[in-house]
Each structure stands twice: as structure tokens, then as C-alpha cells.
């Protein structure tokens, strides 16, 4: 069995390859003509790799490789809003599910491809929430950066938009409703910190085998939902900070999840005290333990972005994250111990895995 860690970076895609032992890693790349990529993901059912990005010269596109990176093509056919509207700036995230490829873009929009990334069409229902004219961008823009799907029901999707919050559809994208109850906005005046929308969601993940169990890293807190996002409960007690970007779910255990807290939104956004740690819960977020063996414990002032942590499908599960200093760290024992798999890559924006 081969394991690939897919790396999206400011200067193209990289692929780290290993076998099931996950001891020795080979770095391949850069791919995609050095385009800035915000996300590189895969469709495990077809073993196809997709990369989302936006080039300052050439605009947004989705790259595709069907041979594990040996060759690539790109397309933005149909990946556009109607003429005259603010053009799509960047393809931000890819998500394969039920034979389709979903793409989130900036400014906030959702597209789908039914032909494996050759062409795209907009899911126009996301234009229709009545609050849409009031949506405001977060620090990285008005971006649709997270897509979660229900493995059992192709009509159910959740998206994360900054700084708007989580929206949900159960009719394949025709109608959407906010799913932000219980997530707070510390940046709003007292008494107004739990609005219907306007939350700065950073990343969402679904627990395996429980399509109503969602985990969320927000600009303001870590959360868990057991009802498909209708309500969220804080699970940040026991963590060193309420701020961070990624969240990763275990591939089989719905109670196990991983956060990588940074020291704070306005304090530099690096690991607390410059000591890197991944925090793991085995009970759905009730209790937390830091796991830092093998991670730098002195002078680690990197950031880890919203898409930049993932688990693999092996047993025990591998956990990986990529940092803004171009380092990729991996654990092959569910976070207990870590090794540096690659260093000195460009600033890393995303980490995903593909098991063959």
C-alpha cells in the first residue's frame, strides 16, 4: 500500500510518497507550473489529484493529474460568474464526493464538475440566501474554503465561508441555510456575539460514520456539533488557545480529532511559546492532550493554515501537517510521535492524503 501526502504551496504542488511503513518519504515536485495553490486534494475513488489555485497573471483554475503527478492539465471552463460581476479570483478548495468534484472559490461561490474537472457550473442556490448582500470578507477575502459532504446522502453538503460562517443544504444546493448557532464572534460588540451569520469559520471536518457529527475550528473557538450543525458546543476547554486554523478527524474513530492551536489571533499566530504541538482528543473534545514528541520545542514561530492538517486511512492512522515555513511533519502513530518529512518547501497552504 502506498501513501501520498499532497502538499499545496505558494509555489505549486508537491507530493510526498511512502509505503505503508511510512518511514521513508520521497518528495516530488514542484508541480502545476509554480502556481500559488490554496488546496490540493484527491478523489480516492478515481485516484485523481486535483489542485485549486489562482495565478496573479492567469486567474483561477483547477489542475488535475490522473497519474500521481507525472502529468497535469488545467481547466477553468465554466468556473466563472456571469459577465459583469466581480470575476472569480481564485479556486480555493476542491472536494470530491459521489462522483462529482466541488470547487469553492473567491469571492464566495460553489461550483461543481460532473466530468472530472474538465468543466464546471455554478451551484446558483448559494446566491440566494437573503443575507448574501451583507456577507463580509475575512482576512483572506470572501472565500468559500471548506466543503464537507455526507457519504450516505449526496444531497447534503456543508460549506464554510469567511467571514460568513457555515451554510448547509439538504437538496443538493438549491437552498441553503446558516448553521452557526452556538459559534461566537468575539470581534463583535458585547451582546451581539452570537449572530445568525458573520462567524469567521476556519475549517470544518466530519466525524467518520456519523454524518451529523461535525468538528469546527473557528477564529473564535473550537466546536462540535452532533446535529449536522444546527447547534454547536464549545470544546476548547483544556486547549492552550481558542485560535487556530485546521481541524482533522480520525479516519475511523468519531471520537478522535486533532487541532493545532496557535497562540492567538492578535498575538502572532504561531504555536504557543514557540513550541509546536498537535492536540488530540479521544472523547469528542471533552478532554485534550498535547502531542509534541519530535516537533520543534524551541523557536517554532510558523503558522499552520486552515487546510494544512490531515489524517490518512491506515491503521494506526497517520497525521500530517504543513507549516508556513515549508516544513511537513508526519506521525504514523495517531499523533504520539512526529518526524519532519520535508523542509524548506514554499509556504504550505494545504495537506491532504491519498492511499493506494
Amino acid at each position: 500500500m502506498d501513501v501520498r501526502v499532497l502538499v499545496g504551496s505558494k509555489k505549486g504542488a508537491f507530493i510526498l510518497e511512502s509505503d505503508s511503513a511510512r518511514r521513508d518519504w520521497r518528495v516530488q515536485g514542484p508541480f502545476c507550473e509554480h502556481w500559488p495553490l490554496t488546496h490540493v486534494g484527491a478523489d480516492p475513488s478515481t485516484q485523481t489529484i486535483y489542485a485549486a489555485g489562482g495565478n496573479a497573471w492567469f486567474g483561477p483554475a483547477v489542475w488535475k493529474s490522473s497519474d500521481f503527478g507525472a502529468s497535469w492539465s488545467h481547466s477553468s471552463a465554466g468556473l466563472a460568474f456571469p459577465q459583469g460581476e466581480t470575476p472569480v479570483q481564485c479556486a480555493w478548495v476542491v472536494h470530491a464526493a459521489h462522483g462529482r468534484l466541488y470547487v469553492g472559490v473567491e469571492p464566495a461561490g460553489l461550483f461543481v464538475s460532473d466530468d472530472g474537472g474538465a468543466s464546471f457550473r455554478e451551484i446558483e442556490g448559494l446566491r440566494r440566501p437573503p443575507t448574501r448582500p451583507q456577507w463580509q470578507p475575512g482576512g483572506a477575502g470572501l472565500i468559500l474554503h471548506s466543503i464537507v459532504s455526507d457519504p450516505a446522502d449526496p444531497r447534503r453538503l456543508w460549506v464554510g465561508i469567511s467571514a460568513v460562517g457555515v451554510f448547509y443544504t439538504e437538496d443538493g444546493g438549491e437552498t441553503w441555510s446558516p448553521r452557526n448557532t452556538g459559534t461566537r464572534c468575539d470581534f463583535l460588540p458585547e451582546g451581539e456575539r452570537y449572530p445568525e451569520f458573520g462567524q469567521c469559520v476556519h475549517n470544518i471536518a466530519m466525524a467518520p460514520g456519523h454524518s451529523n457529527r461535525l468538528y469546527q475550528q473557528n477564529h473564535c473557538g473550537m466546536y462540535r456539533s452532533d446535529d449536522g450543525g444546527l447547534s454547536w458546543n464549545s470544546i476548547e476547554a483544556g486547549l492552550p488557545s481558542s485560535f487556530g486554523f485546521p481541524v482533522a478527524a480520525h479516519p475511523r474513530d468519531a471520537e478522535t480529532l486533532f487541532f493545532l492551536p496557535l497562540n492567538g489571533a492578535d498575538q502572532g499566530r504561531y504555536p504557543p511559546e514557540g513550541r509546536a504541538a498537535v492536540w488530540r482528543s479521544r472523547d469528542g473534545g471533552a478532554h485534550w492532550a498535547d502531542r509534541r514528541a519530535g516537533l520543534p520545542q524551541n523557536g517554532a514561530y510558523f503558522g499552520v493554515m486552515r487546510q494544512a492538517m490531515a489524517t490518512d486511512a491506515l491503521d494506526p492512522a497517520g497525521v500530517y501537517f504543513g507549516a508556513s515555513n515549508g516544513s511537513v511533519y508526519g506521525s504514523r502513530d495517531e499523533g504520539e510521535s512526529w518526524t519532519c518529512l520535508a523542509r524548506d518547501l514554499p509556504a504550505i497552504s494545504s495537506i491532504e492524503t491519498l492511499t493506494t
Binding site: 507550473e33 496573479a56 497573471w57 492567469f58 486567474g59 483554475a61 488545467h74 481547466s75 477553468s76 471552463a77 468556473l79 466563472a80 460568474f81 456571469p82 459577465q83 459583469g84 460581476e85 470575476p87 472569480v88
Partner: protein
């Protein structure tokens, strides 16, 4: 009509395997040049223009030594340079 001589940047042609760096195109406007490039190498329009519609912000197209827009007219045999602007980090 004598065709325009259109020069494409390497960064662009690298995205379209087999694309030429210098192309002769019969066209009366820059928009028609873009149409012809799209016909030869599908997808090239999206790399050069957005849906404003306009030439992308960091793409420069020069005609007879002057920065052009989509509706800029071409004289027979015009020299057209497609260039990538200074950008990135």
C-alpha cells in the same frame, strides 16, 4: 489582410502543450486575437481575460508599442505583444 504577428509569453505557452510563441492571426481587434487564440488552444481565453470582460490585471497586451484593451483596433500586419506584468513574490 496582412495578419497580425502575435508574440506569446513562455509562462503562457507552458500551460498549453504544443502552443507556439509566435502566431500569425487575422484580426481587426485585440478581442478577435483572443478569439483566435481560444480557437487554437481552448482555455487560453480564460488565462488572458476575465469576465468583466477585460484583459487580466497583470497581463499586458501591447499593440504598435501601446498598451491595448480588448476593443483596441489592429492595423494590418500589427505587432502584438502579450506580456506578463511584474508580479508575485
Amino acid at each position: 489582410m496582412k495578419p497580425a504577428l502575435v508574440r506569446l509569453p513562455l509562462l503562457l505557452t507552458a500551460l498549453f502543450p504544443g502552443a507556439d510563441r509566435i502566431v500569425e492571426i487575422e484580426a481587426e481587434t485585440v478581442a478577435e486575437v483572443i478569439d483566435a487564440l481560444e480557437a487554437r488552444w481552448p482555455g487560453m481565453r480564460d488565462r488572458l481575460t476575465d469576465t468583466s470582460p477585460a484583459i487580466r490585471r497583470h497581463i499586458n497586451i501591447f499593440v504598435a508599442g501601446r498598451r491595448a484593451r480588448l476593443d483596441t483596433a489592429l492595423q494590418p500586419g500589427a505587432d502584438v505583444y502579450v506580456l506578463t506584468a511584474v508580479s508575485g513574490g
